[in-house]
Amino acid sequence: MSERSRPYQIRGTLQTLLSLRVEDPEAPTFFDQLKADVLRSPGFFKNAPVVIDVEPILDRAPTELRLFVAKVRASGLQPIALSGGDKIWNDAAAAVGLSLVAGGTHVPIGTGGEAPPAPAKPEPAPAAAASPPAPSSPAPTAEGPTPTSSGRTLVSDQAVRGGQQLYAAASDLICLAPVSSGAEVIASGHVHIYAPLRGRAFAGFEGDESAMIFCDKLEAELVSIAGFHLVNDELPTAALGKRVRIRVGTGRLDIDIIA
């Protein structure tokens, strides 16, 4: 049977998952509060797959796990996996039909609004410099081009001018026109700029060290990935004006010139 005639495709995907970090499962208001949170943003939470993170309660025995999972489901979330467990917890998870995932990068999210809340503040990346540069907080009035969202990636085909900010809260960002000096482009994933980068670019804004910045012409004021950063003065002369890829190396940013 050829590859083509297979009635399905197995593909790797990257998904952002909610994680329910359990700190006190016996708190009397645990499920009331959880239900209230789900009801407050049903579009975001209702039936959303969730990973149960038991790392804070490893010292307890997983005796009530089945009941706990049922109650989480009754609250409107869909537990699909367990993370942060030890052998005892993992065995218990298998017994109740949860798979196991390794702990990811955690970002606290607010539960205020209906829309997927934007990460309020980036967690300082672990090995970051004393005070990692942060873009000015996204202002609701900040004028910016209106990008289109294609799937998970934010695509902007207008120049990002000085004073403007483009923010891809939970995805990669693609800019097809120049990013002016004084402008900021920010993404939790990669930042691709198929034009000159003259402003500031932040990739892996929530601490993802595998995020990268690509641009056609490096003239940036500042580049930052997961808290590691370089200002223009620190950019290697050889890379200035070149098409480059920037990524986190060992404890610093590496810049590769792409021919």
Partner: protein
């Protein structure tokens, strides 16, 4: 129906008012009925540059707030029949302009005129936002230097997102770049940015390059729009810009250093 053209820059002192006066006068001279409006409430200058400061009775703010008809406030130019000026108030501040009032005045003027040229104040605050809000086209005035170019970039971003056209999702404000105070010799020496450098950063079409010319200051002091100084290079450059604004294809002039022979160089050195 008139076309509303806002002359703006972000940065102050780059030649907005000089350019608004010259483009307005140039359009009028080309037969278009034109009104130039001074949006710089509190720092009124347009009337001086256009030489009508001694005939101001009512102003823009009176029309918006005090039941004065716009026709009473318009000042007719003495040189050109087609040219009118609506001066700013010197005694008020920019808060005196409200969006509804400005929109009402512009709507009324639109019936009578072919072109409405709005002279924006510097900055990116209320006055400047008001001047660009109703624009159909914008002329971004910049000098060939880094700080001016950066501020122009900022104002282009604001035009793209804060104008009425942007808010209503209509066709965006058409933008033109007008480079002023361009000194070909200093560009040659590397003291000033080249036209191409500025265009690469700002990436909007070039309406014109106005060369540095002593006549600009002299003309401003006597209240004559530079465009009417036919014999000057700045005047001719403004005339070219007006032609381009009207859709004519005119080659750029005065952007190369003037050719000098050894004799004139000698003269200049001793001057």
């Amino acid at each position: 129906m008139a076309k509303i053209i806002t002359v703006t820059s972000g940065k102050g002192g780059v030649g907005k008012t000089t350019s608004a006066a010259s483009l307005g006068a140039g359009l009028a001279k080309a037969g278009k009925k034109t009104v130039v409006i001074d949006f710089d409430v509190g720092l009124r200058n347009l009337d001086l540059v256009m030489g009508c400061e001694r005939r101001v009775v009512f102003d823009f703010v009176n029309v918006i707030q005090d039941d004065i008809r716009v026709q009473q406030a318009l000042i007719k130019d003495k040189r050109l029949d087609n040219l009118f000026i609506l001066p700013a108030s010197q005694t008020r501040d920019k808060d005196a302009l409200d969006r509804d009032g400005v929109g009402r005045v512009l709507d009324e003027l639109k019936q009578d005129f072919d072109y409405i040229v709005c002279d924006s104040p510097a900055g990116i605050e209320k006055g400047a936002l008001m001047a660009l809000y109703f624009a159909d086209e914008a002329i971004v005035v910049a000098n060939p230097e880094v700080s001016s170019v950066r501020d122009s970039d900022r104002i282009i971003g604001i035009l793209n997102s804060r104008s009425k056209r942007a808010e209503e999702g209509r066709e965006p404000v058409k933008q033109h770049l007008l480079l002023t105070r361009y000194d070909p010799d200093r560009v040659e020496q590397g003291d000033m940015l080249k036209t191409d450098d500025v265009l690469e950063i700002l990436a909007i079409p070039l309406l014109g390059v106005i060369p540095q010319d002593k006549i600009v200051l002299t003309a401003s002091n006597v209240g004559t729009p530079v465009v009417l100084e036919d014999s000057s290079i700045a005047g001719q450059a403004y005339q070219d810009a007006v032609q381009r604004l009207l859709g004519h294809d005119v080659p750029m002039r005065f952007i190369e250093p003037r050719k000098t022979n050894w004799f004139s160089r000698l003269l200049r050195r001793s001057a």
